[in-house]
């Protein structure tokens, strides 16, 4: 099935909870209401027509005014894929976890929580995965300022080359 047909099918099934479908050239996607993501995911997983049995890639993107979580679903039986998106506010982004439907979401959601600060409700073991446990802030956010030092180890190393300023006058 073509990507757009899949999204149309989901739209027909969920109606207004699918906010919009965009046909942008390389990969069309559907924006889903944050509250409905688990039902949509469960439907796409169990529906024999779609049979999306694998959450291939889940990434978080920080646009200046909102944070988006992008789900790339894929089906090994029908060999087709679809892209879902969820738009979250920047101050306290939180969405339900998809760990119940696809186990692979566990680690990917922990990474998004760690690097972007998106809180996944119902996640079995939501703690930082890549950064140290006591790290402050979320590095992949656009407004993240890297701390000068961490536990006394400086994170800044000026370049040893000194640029000559030859502006005589």
């Amino acid at each position: 099935m073509e990507a757009l047909q899949i999204l149309e099918r989901v739209k027909s099934r969920f109606g207004d909870r699918v906010l919009e479908i965009s046909e942008k050239k390389p990969d069309p996607f559907a924006v889903i209401e944050p509250g409905a993501i688990v039902e949509v995911g469960r439907f796409m997983n169990e529906d024999p027509e779609l049979a999306m049995d694998c959450l291939s890639n889940e990434s978080g993107v920080d646009y200046k005014d909102r944070i988006e979580v992008v789900y790339h679903l894929f089906s090994y039986t029908h060999r087709h894929g679809a892209v879902l998106k969820v738009k979250l506010p920047r101050d306290n982004p939180s969405v339900a976890t998809l760990e119940g439907v696809w186990k692979s979401a566990n680690w990917m959601e922990r990474e998004i929580f760690d690097l972007l600060g998106v809180n996944f409700e119902g996640h079995s073991d939501l703690r930082r995965i890549l950064m140290p446990e006591d790290w402050i802030g979320h590095p992949l956010r656009k407004d993240f300022v890297e701390p000068a030092e961490y536990h006394g180890i400086s994170t800044v190393r000026e370049s040893p080359i000194v640029r000559l300023d030859t502006k005589k006058k």
Binding site: S159, P160, I161, R163, L164, T166, K167
Partner: protein, 188 residues
Amino acid sequence: MIAVSEYVHNIKDTVSTIFEGMAVTASHFMRKPYTVQYPDRMPVRVQDTLPFRYRGILDVDLEICTGCLACERACPIDCIVIVADKDQQTRQLLLSQFDIDIAKCMYCGLCSEPCPTGAIHHTTEFEGADYSLESLIRRFVQNPVIAYKAKKGPETDPRIAPILNRGMAYLDQWAQPGGEKPVGEEPA
């Protein structure tokens, strides 16, 4: 209890596979070792055996450097620092600083790609160990020098011509975007 046949099969399997494995290792007794005795018992210096495109420590021929700062912009880690500004009286570009921090350089080759004359290029030298971090910054300009001005026709100055040819030969190695390059011709 596992069946007697499986019991015997296990023993036979173990013995035959160990027999095969020992035969393979025995055949290795009669083979020439593959390793070379770097650094001192080498028939020829390693640096000379490396291929032409080997990306070793950077080297700059200042005679043909036009001071266009293409390499400084291309370097993702900003480890090249060049100061080249127009001298008011003689209206000529003066190169007063050209430093490369080879400690930070990751030898990716992105700087030697855009250089118009092939001035900055990789050598096959890789032994960069040194006693002080300071000496890891290769300074190519001692006293300010006038930047090279590319002429229309072939290079006349006998001193600069061979260097320019070498530089252009190095550039030929790079695939020209879209250019049809016949396979197989290799500069001397």
